[in-house]
């Protein structure tokens, strides 16, 4: 039983068909990669799943529930968290506050209780903090805890963004180019983290990735896209041997 099924999803911007008739299902605890040349519609597809864009056709079902029309802020409540291609953090807050915001979906206290900062709010905050500390341990972000995000190097910011998504405790995580801008060592760490997310945190992972060595190392299945359409879907080996995929990358 697929945890996420995307059926016949398409979206147009004016006359441009950015994503066209994409269908696939992702199994629980699967690591699913999406590859394709620039402009293939990979990030647009992510934006459709996380409800930033309204799809023109098709439907998205997550965990048995149709999420095609839910408001964007409910996506993370449903259990899907994401990262962005061009890191989208809260620059003027510390690493800790960025991760704490990842816990936002778990809050129950209303405006009045927060204005009075009642013991209930305090307990919620402490519970969040314990969870965030687990994430900090997991990603080894301890030494950056109180640092403003704006001043951090690119690689660390990338990891902070991953941490923010993890703090939400999602069941499905969408990673938009997790290794872009990372050096060799950081990329290796990323491989381990992605595997641990599945093995230890029981998450399903969908990632857009250009680094084929990373894709082959961790992913169970790969979807190749070009010009908004599906080219191939299968194991990394199958997709790499697909003549259509080679043509899309090399021209042909």
């Amino acid at each position: 039983m697929a945890v996420l099924s995307v059926s016949d999803v398409g979206i147009s911007f004016g006359g441009l068909r950015a994503v066209d008739g994409i269908s696939f299902g992702v199994e629980p605890r699967e690591i699913f990669a999406i590859i394709g040349p620039n402009g293939a519609g990979k990030t647009t597809l992510f934006n459709v799943i996380s409800r930033i864009y309204e799809p023109s056709t098709g439907s998205i079902v997550f965990d048995g529930r149709d999420i095609t029309r839910i408001p964007p802020h409910d996506v993370v409540r449903a259990g899907i968290a994401r990262t962005f291609q061009n890191i989208n953090l809260f620059d003027n807050a510390t690493v800790l506050d960025n991760l704490m915001l990842g816990r936002y979906r778990h809050h129950r206290s209303g405006v009045l209780r927060q204005t009075l900062f009642t013991p209930f709010v305090r307990r919620e905050k402490l519970a969040d903090r314990r969870k965030v500390e687990e994430v900090i341990d997991f990603l080894e972000l301890g030494k950056y805890r109180d640092v403003l995000v704006a001043g951090l190097p690119y690689g660390v910011r990338k990891i902070v963004e991953l941490g923010r998504a993890l703090a939400a405790e999602p069941r499905l995580i969408l990673l938009d180019e997790p290794s872009s801008g990372l050096n060799v060592e950081e990329t290796r760490d990323m491989v381990f983290w992605i595997q641990d997310m599945r093995d230890d945190l029981d998450m399903t992972v969908i990632m857009i990735e250009h680094d084929m060595s990373l894709v082959s190392a961790v992913s169970d299945r790969v979807l190749a896209m070009s010009s908004g359409r599906m080219l191939a879907l299968g194991t990394p080996g199958e997709v790499q041997r697909d003549p259509g995929v080679a043509a899309a990358y090399l021209g042909g």
């Binding site: 936002y104 709010v121 903090r129």
Partner: protein
């Protein structure tokens, strides 16, 4: 140089950073309580005005400083609060009820004015709030049957169950209590998840939304709370002046509020108080300076506005973190002495980078 070694998670969100900070705030509190007994009447009166501006500034700081939504319409909330309390009291409603109603009505108006904020940002939002505030003042002017229109209203002294605030120290006590409560409320929101969500909206709406922050609800909450506080400030202001008319709530007041939080230090609690003190003290300083200026300059009617503009420009160029930023630098200089370097306290220029400014 002080080193902080944290031993508990609560240390990251408690009211005062440490015992020393709590001690200094207690001392400040004592000084504020002692003020009416030692200060001459004139200075106490200025302190009352500062307190009223702190309440309004707390509201605007939450909205603009933390949530990143610039408002040029806060004079409207100020006016709604002032007129609500004046009109209700004229009809015999006791002060506390009228005061609460002033806050509630301002919050409602803030909610309505906040609605365009869901679609607008930055300059466009500022213009929309400006337009909304013109509508509000126009309503006050035209609705003569209730507000007495342009001729204004007299406001009685505050009366709470037989006790009358018939002297400046008594008014001061009430203003001080409200100002402390307003500061506490904003501080609480800022350290609670709601405040974090507001700062998230300021820095990146897309990311905030994808982490589960309902943009509409949080922005409207920010507008309503901000308007509520400014409305309460307006109600106190009416009692301070004892006479109000629509001309006291022009766009200049909105600008004064924005200048206040900006010069105080955008996105900081200290900035509210520093900014309020600055905005109240500046006209006095200008008045004093007039004696020393050549007559051609001193008699210009726009002198005060020009000084505002000059000071604001100077801050934007030289010290975008405001008075609070200067205070932090001075503190840092002495705690690091003699190792202070120019770049050792570089802060992110939040307002300059975020799109909404």
């Amino acid at each position: 140089m002080k080193f902080y070694k944290k031993t508990s998670y609560t240390e990251d969100f408690r009211l005062f950073r440490d015992g020393a900070a709590a001690f200094w705030y207690a001392l400040l509190g004592l000084a504020l309580v002692a003020a009416p007994f030692v200060l001459p009447a004139y200075y106490l009166s200025q302190l009352v005005l500062i307190g009223i501006y702190v309440v309004a500034g707390a509201g605007l700081m939450l909205l603009s400083g933390y949530c990143g939504q610039v408002s040029l319409g806060h004079a409207a909330f100020f006016a709604v609060g002032a007129f609500t309390v004046a009109v209700l009291e004229k009809h015999g409603v006791p002060f506390l009820a009228a005061f609460a109603a002033a806050g509630a009505l301002s919050a409602a108006v803030g909610f309505v004015i906040g609605l365009p904020a869901l679609r607008l940002s930055g300059l466009y939002l500022a213009i929309a709030t400006l337009a909304a505030s013109f509508i509000v003042t126009e309503v006050i002017v035209r609705w003569e049957g209730v507000t007495n229109g342009a001729s204004g209203l007299n406001v009685a002294k505050i009366r709470i169950a037989g006790w009358i605030a018939d002297s400046e120290p008594k008014l001061y006590a009430i203003v001080l209590a409200v100002a402390v409560a307003a500061m506490l409320a904003v501080r609480n929101i800022v350290r609670a998840p709601l405040g974090l969500a507001m700062m998230a909206i300021r820095d990146s709406e897309t990311a905030a939304q994808s982490m589960g922050v309902p943009l509409m609800r949080v922005k409207l909450a920010a507008f309503a709370i901000s308007a509520l506080l400014t409305g309460l400030a307006g109600a106190l202001y009416a009692h301070k002046l004892q006479f109000i008319d629509p001309d006291q709530f022009t766009i200049l007041v909105s600008i004064e509020f924005l200048v206040m939080i900006f010069i105080g230090g955008i996105g900081s609690m200290h900035g509210i108080v520093l900014g309020a003190a600055f905005v109240i003290a500046l006209p006095q300083l200008v008045a004093v300076a007039k004696d020393y200026l050549p007559a051609a300059v001193a008699q210009q009617s726009g002198l005060q506005a020009a000084v505002y503009a000059a000071v604001l420009l100077a801050f934007i160029l030289a010290e975008p973190t405001g008075l609070y930023g200067i205070w932090r630098k001075i503190k840092h200089y002495f705690s690091m002495f003699p190792f202070y370097r120019k770049g050792s306290l570089r802060r992110a220029k939040s307002f300059a980078k975020s799109e909404t400014w």
